[in-house]
């Protein structure tokens, strides 16, 4: 069974990778993801300068997912050079997630990411708990500007991570494509809140956070389906994928690759092996020889 897939010029031995932010803050963790069988790894979102993030509590465990407001804590791109070296040895593509607060910062951070060894860049245009940073995924014009500027600064593929909370994720994706973007990742976490009834206040120090996990999966599948009808560039599907059947749902909707976040934290690194075995079994059972035959298959009906 052939699980090979491509996102732009990036060739992956299988479609599975971690979602940015989950187990991706150090080279040691990224190396474990790569060694566990992932087709690519994605770093925590990095900025030019280090960032401490929000004070605890930063995570709430819910029966249907996680609510988090880590606040884009990261050691900065330069410090990450050494971390990347650890994972580069394994030989799987490394996607560096970057963010900035202006178009110019996005461009400088992306340039830096390529310089420290990124094989591709994922622009975090849509963190739901970081002040004004979400605006880039809300407005097609802003998304166009940032992608066009970043594409001018780097020679590696550039993907844009989008939000389901945009007025139209489709219009934003079209702008990304028009600006020369090489792919879109959908979807980021969804802005949410949890209030402790006994203590009578929001639990996260930032009050608002991003919801991930099974709760958001149907929304993510809808987005991927819509995007597949609207753009030609590859789609990386993410949002509540816990097992191989969830992953297949995204692939049938139009995703060329898959990211796992909450489930990876909950179930551990073996998840990659289970996803690979599950999809292989499915391909065999349903008479397909390659995962590529299934991308967007659900649109045929």
């Amino acid at each position: 069974m052939n699980l090979e897939t491509e996102i732009s010029s990036l060739k992956l031995s299988n479609p599975f990778m971690n979602a940015s932010g989950v187990l991706s803050t150090t080279g040691g963790l990224l190396k474990r993801i790569a060694m566990a069988g992932a087709g690519a790894v994605v770093t925590k979102s990095l900025s030019l300068d280090p960032r401490e993030g929000y004070p605890n509590p930063v995570v709430v465990e819910l029966p249907y997912g996680y609510l988090n407001a880590i606040g884009l804590a990261n050691p900065g791109l330069e410090s990450f050079r050494e971390e990347l070296r650890e994972v580069k040895d394994v030989g799987v593509p490394v996607i560096v997630s970057v963010f900035g607060s202006t178009v110019e910062e996005f461009a400088r951070a992306s340039f830096k990411a390529e310089e420290i060894g990124a094989d591709a860049i994922e622009l975090n245009l849509s963190c739901p708990h970081a002040g004004g940073l979400t605006s880039y995924s809300q407005d097609p014009k802003l998304a166009y500007d940032v992608i066009a500027r970043v594409k001018h600064s780097v020679s590696i593929p550039v993907f844009a991570k989008l939000s389901a909370e945009s007025p139209s994720i489709v219009e934003v994706a079209k702008a990304v494509e028009k600006a020369g973007g090489d792919g879109v990742t959908a979807i980021n976490t969804i802005k949410a809140m949890y209030i402790d009834v006994d203590l009578k206040r929001p639990v996260l120090s930032n009050k608002f956070g991003g919801l991930s996990g099974p709760a958001i999966k149907p929304i993510a599948v809808r987005c991927v389906y819509e995007l597949h009808e609207a753009v030609e560039i590859p789609i990386i599907g993410v949002g509540g994928i816990s097992d191989y059947r969830d992953a297949l749902e995204f692939i049938l909707a139009g995703a060329s690759a898959i990211q796992v976040g909450s489930a990876l934290a909950k179930e551990g690194f073996d998840l990659f092996r289970r996803l690979i075995n599950g999809v292989e079994g499915y391909l065999k059972l349903h008479g397909f020889s390659s995962i590529k035959e299934l991308i967007g298959y659900a649109h045929r009906c």
Partner: protein
């Protein structure tokens, strides 16, 4: 997230208290070596090793005032309600054996429920508690009641053995071999105790401390050589510890940058 009531607070040393919480959901599940995330709604959420495990209702942790949240915890009035998550992490492995427990400073705290558990299994338990000076020693009476033998060590010689914890351990193991050493305390002390255990051919487990944010293995903030202290630790076995290159050399700050290990 559970809401727990503060039902008792006991002074252990200057600026150190043990807070007892009523929290049945954690009390019935907790094991020695586990930790909880303690959330003081007016401040922050901090990780705390369990120093008291009394099912079916009570748990406790021992806190030293080192920052705003811990200082507020020391002043928390009885019957206050706070948020707690857990129990989290992998605890100590226990069986009937001849054990030496080594605790340094507030690192002594999680060894108390461990000593109780080991005794209940019929183990022979020797405990070494160490601090910079006599006034900083905690749990002396409590451990004296539980342990078969209690040895006190202070860096300045104000009480008991004058010297460092690993020197006391070396002496103890020279006198009488043990099956396993359990350690909790400052990281340089853990590294030294590992060297002593390896020299004597004795097994060891140690509880490590890192910057814990999520507590559930999601964020990677507590990562040490790719291992998550919150989920795959905080207790690690000797076979794992010897492979951790970062041990005793650096920790990570809130942003994830590497900073050198300090001795406290």
């Amino acid at each position: 997230m559970h809401v727990a009531k503060l039902v008792d607070a006991k002074d252990e040393a200057r600026n150190v208290k043990t807070l007892i919480l009523e929290c049945p959901k954690i009390a019935v599940k907790a094991r020695p070596g586990n930790f909880i995330m303690v959330w003081l709604p007016s401040a922050e959420e901090v990780p705390m090793s369990l120093s008291v495990i009394k099912p079916p209702r009570l748990i406790g942790f021992t806190v030293k005032g080192v920052g705003e949240t811990t200082n507020q915890l020391l002043k928390l009035p009885l019957n206050s309600f706070i948020g707690v998550r857990g129990p989290y992490g992998r605890g100590f492995t226990v069986s009937k054996l001849k054990a030496v427990l080594v605790g340094g400073g507030v690192g002594i705290a999680p060894l108390a429920p461990l000593a109780e558990e080991l005794k209940s299994l019929g183990s022979h338990v020797e405990v070494i508690i160490a601090a910079t000076t006599a006034k900083e020693l905690i749990f002396k009476e409590r451990l004296a009641r539980i342990a078969d033998k209690l040895l006190v060590a202070t860096d300045d010689g104000t009480e008991g053995f004058k010297g460092l914890a690993h020197e006391a351990l070396d002496e103890a193991l020279s006198k009488s071999k043990a099956d396993k050493v359990y350690v909790c305390g400052p990281e340089p002390m853990i590294v030294k105790c590992m060297e002593v255990a390896l020299k004597h051919g004795v097994d060891l487990e140690a509880s490590l401390e890192r910057y814990i944010k999520c507590g559930v293995g999601l964020c990677g903030s507590c990562s040490i050589n790719g291992l998550r202290v919150c989920l795959e630790g905080p207790v690690f076995k000797l076979s794992e510890l010897v492979k951790i290159k970062e041990l005793g050399s650096y920790v990570r700050d809130a942003s994830g940058r590497k900073v050198p290990v300090t001795s406290t």
